[in-house]
Amino acid sequence: MAVFDTPEEAFGVLRPVCVQLTKTQTVENVEHLQTQLQAVSDSALQELQQYILFPLRFTLKTPGPKRERLIQSVVECLTFVLSSTCVKEQELLLELFSELSTCLYSPKSQKPAVVSEELKLAVIRSLSTLMHSAYGDIILTFYEPAILPRLGFAVSLLLGLAEQEKSKQIKMAALQCLQVLLLQCECQDHPRSLDELEQQELGDLFASFLPGISTALSRVITGDFKQGHSIVVSSLKIFSKTVGLVMADEQLRRISKVQAKPAVEHRIAELMVHREEVWVKNTSDKLGILIKKIIESVSVHPHWKVRLELVDLVENLLLKCSQSLVESAGPLLKALVGLVNDESPEVQAQCSKVLRHFADQKVVVGNRAFADILSESLHSLATSLPRLMNSQDDQGKFSTLSLLLGYLKLLGPKINFVLNSAAHLQRFSRALIQVLELDVADVKIVEERCWNSSELSATPEAPAARPWNQVQRRYFRFFTDERVFLLLRQVCQLLGYYGNLYLLVDHFMELYHESMVYRKQAAMILNELVIGAAGLEMEDLHEKHTGTNLEELREIVTSILEEYTSQENWYLVTCIEAEEEEELTVKQSGLQAIASAAHTCQVTSFPAFSKSSPTICSMNSNIWQICIQLEGIGQFAYALGKDFDLLLMSALYPVLEKAGDQTLLISQVATSTMVNICHACGYNSLQQLINQNSDYLVNGISLNLRHLALHPHTPKVLEVMLRNSDASLLPLVADVVQDVLASLDQFYDKRSASFVSVLHALLAALAQWFPDTSCIGQLQEQRLKEENHMHQTPATLEASTTAEDIEQFVLKYLKEKDVAEGNISDFDSEEEAPSVPPEADKNDTRPDVEEPLPVQIQIAKDVMERCVHLLSDKNLKIRLKVLDVLGLCVVVLQSHKNQLLPLAHRAWPSLVQRLTNDDPLAVLRAFKVLQTLGGTCGDFLRSRFCKDVLPKLAGSLATQAPISARAGPVYSHTLAFKLQLAVLWGLGPLCESLDLGEGDLNKVADACLIYLSTKQPVKLQEAARSVFLHLMKVDPDFTWLLLNQLYCPLQFTPPHPRLHPVRLQGAPTQQNPYAANVFYLLQKLGCPSQVDAAASPPCQPEARPSHPADAGAAALRRR
């Protein structure tokens, strides 16, 4: 680009222009010069620097009024020259500096000149360029006491511009220039940093400007937010650097008491400042005010870069001037701490970095003054905390708590100084308790119930990142922002981490006891304290701090746990139900708790022991209380990890009890607590947890059974445990079962409901744990048959009968007839057709009467004995449950006929009562039991059934038939219908298993025939068909005859004319309502059909498809 590389060439070109300019000073000439200069290389320009500068400076110095335009172009040209060259002479630098400065000053008004903005900008830039162009150490000679007035002049000019100009450009330029002037420039042109001595001298020099700079800048900084963030940022920067330089502890330490005699004239010496103690004190006081103002304004500045700059400022000042500015340390730290939770991630990151840096450098802890200041701030914050929490909105609370959190983080272990003061701890805790108050007005919590209480469905999933931090969503009275809650939890955790745990736990325990109003909050805080004390993933600013040791923590947790699960804190009234009313009366302590809770909801407390129902509020409050305590237990488990295993003996039982609570929320929380315990203690599943700790549970259960009135839920726990355990539990439970039975005998009238459900669970478990291989198959086969609706029978029956078969049959018949009539001839006993395979008898042959019975058999026996008595309980629900239990007893005992049969004998009268004289529901269940019983001890029941039950059943079927025939579609929803259906479905298998005789079969058939009518509901028809299909198996001939008497689809033509034609009653008329069903049954029986195939049973299409599915299901079950 440069055309003229050598000074000679350039000189030749520039000379006329310079001469021209010196002669006539016009804008054109200046511009001309500038254009020429652009063609000159930098080195050549450097050589000719003085020469070129001369006309320009001459122009500036010429006295008299000048046009601004000219000055501006001259300054610009000057800037151009300076930017390409460097100033090597001190004189030149000084002169240029003064000449440029005066451009902005009008000597007459003693004020910055009123000139155009362009000119101001040009001059400022020129000054900045000048300072940059100073060569090497020349720049240092510039900062000498002698220059002080001129420098001060420039500084005040620039400050004035920065403060008062309207143009943002000028303001920025002025600030940047100021930065350069104060040697704070951040550009790369300043090769070396200053050594200590030089810094000291600079400090001395700048001390004179400090008041001016700081006040002016603070005005800029605290000015309107709208002035743009970059101005505030640079002002903050300059402020920070200047104060940091002048007030640096390091420099001040070296200042001697007596001021050295300066080697300058008196006038200048007066301007110099000696930074001795008094001056420092005064200055820091004044700076303190400014800093406070700045922080107040900037910490809420909307632009994050400004806040970021504030962080840097705090860092710079605290690091450099911690002693000189000790008064301001408080506000500075506060600003820093307050920004820890800034919404901008950059600020947050920087803040934490600075904090960590401080902690590393022991700026705070190592420095007593700082620690004192912080403690004092914490003190005052603690004092005002209750008021702040009361009055501030969510945002205010957020920032206050952020501040608190920051203090705690910074102070670390030293927070104990504050906590050790009873008054402050009191205020602290009051504020926390107050702000954590829950909103318990939600009605839903009480309403939501879980019905299948004993199923523990939750499976432990992979634990989340910080599982102990997951809690049930809750609603607070005084804030809605979730972040506030998070902060509060962090505060509590930090307290637990750094604070004296014994002291804190003791204090909050006291509050927990003090009033029902505080109890929930205190529990919440206690939970967090423990988590904090365990130091789970706590980010620690103080490396050496070791948390509470595990042994102590365990002791503390043990005592909290004991408190949580104590009678009066764990068994709170959470619902009113008719069922539980009897329990309420014995829950004295619970009622008391409610009474004291009541005033939270502005309800006048009612006397304990009264039966008035608790309010929804108090119940909600109780529910939350329990949930918080449950969550606490889960968190304790995380805090202690494997060590929690030892506490399981006292914790597992209460939690399990709550897992079966009727209130959905409690049950959910309890279940998740168990999942947490699983994670924390290393169990794979809830089942494993329960199973491996069943001994602890059994202990709790057996002890609580002794005081059933106080622990009405004990049976439920046993139930849950039974459902979740395996056979290995049995030896442990055996004695508890005896206890249960003893209690049942004792509380026969009051608590049988809960006991019966335990017995149900127990027997169900036994039946599952000890499947009787020989009998279970049989039973299932039987069930399969029932569900299959006899679909395999046709296959056996349909086999075409050959003539030989008939011959055989007739021969046999004759032989039997002979025998029956007493004409005994010798016949092969082998040929005697076994009527029914004596399968049932096989099991009866065990000669183990002398040996002690297996535990499960003994239990089943004992239970069945009780069932005999309870079968006639007044309460229908109990009767129904007992019937179920009875059925299960029969299943368990089926392999021990010696035990089963006497019991069955004893149970029979009441069972008959249930079958014949009870609510239809009970009849239904009783019938089911009868079926089971029939399946296991058929022979034993035969005659009793025929005598006691059958007539009644047949009678009721017969009387119900006309009703169902007439009834509409709604009938299928009635109990009567269900009863009919069940009896019809059950009768068939029963007939078969009991192996009824002809006469009784006749009764059964008579009763069921009516239901083959197509007038009956389809389902009943289907069921009736099943009865006949079973009958076919027992006695096919009889059935055939019976069916044909009802409806005879065929005309039987005698094979020989000499034989009488057979006349059967059932005429093949089209109106016969039995036609379809009978025809279907006869087909199944294997009778040749001649009638058109269209006469299929009416309901077959809909009944058929379900059968394969049923068969499949049954097959699956068998597998």
Partner: protein
């Protein structure tokens, strides 16, 4: 006799899983336990369970008596050694140190009776063992661990006290002469001077056989329980001769074992009526009747820290925390203080 408003006290916890009647209990001395206290229980089925009282679970099960009932358990002061007497006529010495559980020695017994043995050991390698002897009325004294017979104590021919039922070796602080207290089938308690091999004194305190006795050497007072209804307290004066101080009538007959708490404050009895009775040892004032078991209680034992354990025919071991000594540390979790509730036998 005022009916207590509060519910009757519960055992602190119950140990389950022995699956057979519990015949003998013994708390391990604190010094032997590494970190946690142990309780030994001997069962009808011949097993010795070692329970960790902290976790409340069986740590180990020792099987050394061939399925025959274990009747007596005693740990030795030195080393982790346990003596177990079984009805298989073996007295086994177990080494339990560092998780071992092996029989290191055994003594063959010659009596099939129910008499429990007794030891006199004070930490020295040599210790004395009293076991029921070959003849029905004999007591044999052995020096252990060499198993050399010191002497056989046989009552005079005309005395006929019947079988020894319970033994208690002790040594007065001032003298070096070992003494033996023995309860006999005829209801008498005899004091033997072992070195002289003669009965120093004998007192007849029961009409039924003596089932258990314990002796408080500080107060020179002892107590014995029998199959009958009475509990007898007797004292020993300087002669030395035994004298019955008092007898206490119980509601139901049959005491299986009597034990004085190590701090000589309480006395507990194991009753055939399923109950444990607690007396104030100094005044013999009845303090509590603990009902929990559903079959006769076979044995009671006190731990050094005051914990009471009772083993019963119902296969359970109940552990109670009653009137805890003030100075004892409480190493157990979930402590519930029962102390202070007084109520007497119904």
């Amino acid at each position: 006799m005022a009916a207590p408003l509060q519910p009757p006290p519960d055992p602190q916890f119950v140990l389950r899983g022995v699956q057979s009647a519990v015949n003998a209990l013994h708390f391990c001395r604190e010094s032997q336990a590494q970190g946690s206290s142990l309780l030994f229980s001997g069962s009808q089925s011949g097993l010795v369970h070692i329970w960790n009282l902290q976790t409340r679970r069986a740590v180990t099960i020792l099987d050394g008596h061939g399925g025959q009932s274990v009747t007596w358990l005693q740990s030795l002061p030195q080393g982790s050694q346990l003596l177990s007497q079984g009805r298989d006529l073996q007295l086994c010495l177990w080494d339990l140190a560092e998780g071992r559980n092996a029989i290191v020695d055994s003594v063959h017994l010659e009596s099939v009776g129910f008499c429990k043995s007794s030891i006199l050991a004070d930490g020295q390698p040599c210790w004395m063992l009293a076991v029921p002897g070959k003849d029905t009325d004999e007591v044999q004294i052995l020096e252990m661990p060499s198993k050399t017979s010191v002497c056989t104590l046989k009552p005079e021919a005309d005395a006929k006290p019947g079988m020894p039922m319970c033994l208690r070796l002790w040594q007065a602080n001032c003298s070096s002469r070992p003494l033996l207290l023995a309860g006999y089938e005829d209801g008498s308690v005899a004091l033997w001077d072992i070195s002289e091999r003669k009965v120093c004194s004998q007192v007849s305190c029961h009409e039924e056989p003596v089932m258990g006795l314990d002796f408080d050497s500080q107060k020179a007072r002892g107590v014995s329980g029998s199959a009958g209804k009475a509990l007898a307290v007797w004292s020993l004066d300087g002669q030395p001769s035994l004298q019955v101080c008092s007898t206490h009538e119980l509601t139901n007959p049959g005491i299986a074992e009597v034990t004085i708490r190590p701090d000589h404050k309480l006395l507990a009895t194991a009753g055939w009526d399923h109950r444990i009775r607690v007396f104030h040892w100094k005044t013999m004032k009845p303090l509590a009747v603990l009902g929990f078991h559903s079959a006769s209680v076979h044995c009671v034992a006190f731990a050094a820290n005051g914990l009471l354990a009772a083993g019963s025919k119902d296969q359970r071991i109940s552990v109670w925390s009653l009137y805890r000594p003030r100075d004892s540390a409480t190493p157990f979790l979930g402590e519930s203080e029962v102390g202070g509730r007084h109520f007497t036998a119904a």
